[in-house]
């Protein structure tokens, strides 16, 4: 399943790249792209585990930029 999310308060371009790397390594993630310019994350992950993956992604993002949240 592929879904697009808006990232709020994504402030630095390098962080976006770091987040993408971190999320790519998460279990269950098929692909992810984070665009700093549009502040959007496109996440593709296993359907049955999508919510868990999303939570893990949010944790990974918080670790890099604590203010940044995934808007749902």
């Amino acid at each position: 399943m592929k879904k697009v999310f808006k990232l709020e308060d994504l402030d630095c371009a390098n962080c976006a790249a770091k987040m993408q790397n971190a999320i790519e390594k998460l279990d269950g993630v098929k692909s992810v792209t984070i665009s700093f310019m549009t502040q959007r994350m496109t996440l593709e992950a296993d359907e049955e585990r999508f919510d868990d993956v999303l939570k893990a992604a949010q944790r990974a993002i918080k670790k890099i930029e604590p203010d940044c949240t995934i808007a749902r």
Partner: protein, 645 residues
């Protein structure tokens, strides 16, 4: 487009200004008077220390806070942290100097580094915000509400809730929320946001209109033909929003580079501090050099300026009605050097029109007689003759002729003892009219009056006015041009000659077009890039197969929007050269930014390792590069000349 500062930005801006002013005051006084010396004694360094520390905290408290917080999260190579290490290190060195009774210096550097770092950050924020705004202007085409008529009353609902077949009201000044057909009223529509076309289009009952256009004058009722998610406006928005996900090679390179750059620089800094320090014993000197390394350890200038350039390119193109579906297509299109065109609907208008009347001195008479015969018929040839006559010689035609249709041959019109023939060569032969057969390609209509030939009319698919200009522009860029068509060789060669296209292949079935494109693809060189231009009708497979598919006249053609990589919203070939110029400029700027930023960073690293520069120059270099790279990136979005006014 004007972009005001947000509240947050104003606050930061003000803070930077105040800190900068405070810094300048402390700095000048310190340099002129010598604060430490003024106080004198063993603890003289404390005065400048506290003054500079105040400035330091004022400008950098948020950086310090973020660094501390991120360390708690285990983010060591965070740029906030590195900035803090560099500046606090500089402070520590200065304190060390003060305590050991040397000249007090270095406090100013620490403040300056943080100050300029903040200036750079501020500028980046401003630039990205501005650039985002310019693209979100395009997003403004999203309609908020639809006024739907239900049970005789107008109800305001979300566009998503309207179903096919319902009637919506669009008042003047409102956006058309859904695709549909006008059932009542007339108005003019502004399609600027969709196509970049600044002249309004007038619509009336029965006309099909697309969502995203703005109703200018009159109230119209529209029968909805597509649900919102399927409408033009949704398709376009989706496309623009997804554009940033398709990253170019340059962007991927930078992301990869950034991943290794920071750790490498930090490691070098550590080595630089420890090894020569231990060898020479000059710890302070070498640590200082290492700290300068940390100042340039953030790859931000690159990381931000490359996507910014592409983003600006996509944004600039969209303002001219050219939608590019991703930065990777900008990259490929800049290199595109084989252009394959579909003929009908792309290089030609795809309709019938009178192209020649012969003999020319009897033009009015020939057209008039033909128009008399053809009036009331709906065949495309009849329409084209009538249209031409009316536009040149006025509306009135005698209607007292009795008209008889000869299937497959033409028309006979009679009044009293006058008899007109209008049709093909067979018709002329059948009625024994003497004539010379015309061997021009296209459809020839002969006109005879009372058994004698008056002349003939040549009807052809019209060439678009800008086709020859496009082909020569592409040739001037060194590109190879190829035309594919299902028409016969005679027609194809004529169009090829008129447009100047380098190569053509005629009598191709739709499937043959795919194999022809594959043939060209397999024979092209490794660095060549094939670009197919079609009108989006029946050529979706070819659009997908080629390196870059360009579809013409995207408004209202879903298949084209989906299959193509670049969509020309306006049915105007000018967009191709424009997109090419934008793509080229974008790629030039991207290359400039990569080369320039890397060169400056490496130069600063080498110079600081050798101890030639100080931290001042390092931070100027770093922030300066970022600012210059961003300014350069914004150049992509500047105005482009279009050939038409």
């Amino acid at each position: 487009m004007k972009y005001g500062l947000s509240k947050k930005e104003k606050k930061i801006g003000l803070r930077i200004l105040i800190s900068l002013a405070a810094f300048i005051v402390v700095f000048t006084v310190d340099k002129c008077v010598g604060l430490a010396a003024a106080v004198g004694g063993k603890f003289g360094w404390l005065l400048p220390f506290f003054l500079y520390l105040a400035v330091y905290v004022a400008i950098g408290y948020d950086v310090l806070y973020r660094a501390a917080r991120n360390i708690a999260h285990g983010q060591v190579f965070d740029e906030n942290f590195l900035m803090c290490v560099a500046t606090l290190g500089a402070f520590a060195l200065a304190i060390f100097r003060g305590v050991t009774g040397q000249d007090t210096e270095g406090f100013d550097e620490a403040c300056a580094v943080l100050l300029f770092y903040q200036v750079g950050e501020f500028f980046q924020r401003y630039a990205t915000g501005k650039s985002r705004k310019s693209v979100s202007a395009l997003m403004d085409i999203r309609p908020d509400v639809a006024n739907v008529i239900r049970d005789g009353v107008v109800a305001e609902v979300a566009p998503e809730e309207v179903k096919i077949g319902e009637i919506i009201v669009v008042n003047p000044g409102e956006k058309v929320p859904l695709d549909g057909v006008v059932t009542e009223g007339s108005s003019s529509l502004d399609l600027k946001a969709l196509t970049g076309e600044s002249l309004p289009t007038s619509v009336r009952e029965g006309d099909r209109i697309v969502s995203g256009s703005v109703n200018l004058d009159g109230k119209i009722l529209v029968r909805v033909e597509k649900e919102f998610y399927d409408s033009t406006v949704s398709k376009i928005l989706e496309l623009v929003e997804n554009a940033a996900d398709k990253k170019s090679k340059a962007e991927n390179f930078i992301t990869k580079f950034a991943r290794y750059y920071t750790p490498t620089v930090v490691a070098c800094a550590l080595l630089l501090a420890v090894i020569p320090g231990a060898v020479t014993g000059d710890w302070a000197g070498w640590i200082y050099r290492a700290l300068s390394f940390l100042v340039v350890s953030c790859p931000c200038a690159l990381v931000i300026s490359i996507p910014l350039s592409f983003f600006a390119g996509i944004g600039a193109a969209s303002r001219y009605g050219v939608l590019i579906k991703g930065s990777n297509y900008i990259e490929k299109f800049a290199k595109a050097n084989i252009f394959v065109f579909d003929k009908t609907g792309t290089l030609t208008k795809g309709n019938f029109a009178v192209s020649d009347v012969s003999p020319a001195d009897r033009r009015e008479e020939i057209l008039r007689l033909a128009a008399i015969c053809e009036q009331g018929l709906s065949h495309p040839i009849a329409t084209s003759i009538l249209q031409r006559y009316k536009s040149e010689f006025g509306e009135d035609l005698p209607s007292d002729y009795s008209v008889k249709n000869e299937a497959g041959l033409g028309v006979i019109a009679a009044r009293n003892d006058e008899r007109l023939l209008c049709g093909n060569a067979s018709l002329m032969r059948k009625y024994g009219v003497e004539f010379e057969e015309c061997d021009d390609s296209g459809t020839v209509v002969y006109i005879a009056k009372d058994g004698e030939l008056t002349g003939h009319i040549l009807i052809e698919d019209e060439l678009k006015e800008d086709s020859p200009a496009l082909i020569s522009a592409l040739k001037a860029m060194g590109a190879k041009t190829v035309m594919l068509t299902g028409d016969n060789d005679a027609v194809a060669s004529k169009v090829a000659l008129k447009t100047g296209v380098g190569e053509y292949h005629a009598s191709l079935l739709p499937a043959d077009k795919v194999s022809k494109v594959e043939e060209i693809l397999s024979s092209k060189g490794k660095n060549d890039s094939l670009c197919f231009v079609g009108d989006g009708i029946n050529d979706a497979p070819v659009l997908m197969r080629s390196d870059i598919g360009i579809a013409m006249g995207g408004v209202g053609s879903d298949a084209a929007i989906e299959a193509a990589d670049i969509v020309l919203m306006r049915d105007d070939l000018d967009g191709i050269t424009l997109a090419k110029r934008i793509a080229r400029r974008t790629m030039n700027i991207v290359t400039e930014n990569i080369v320039f930023s890397l060169a400056v960073k490496v130069a600063i690293l080498i110079l600081s390792a050798l101890g030639i520069t100080n931290m001042w120059i390092a931070v100027f270099g770093d922030v300066g590069v970022a600012v210059l790279a961003i300014l350069n990136a914004m150049r992509v979005g500047l105005k482009y000349k279009t050939d038409k006014k």
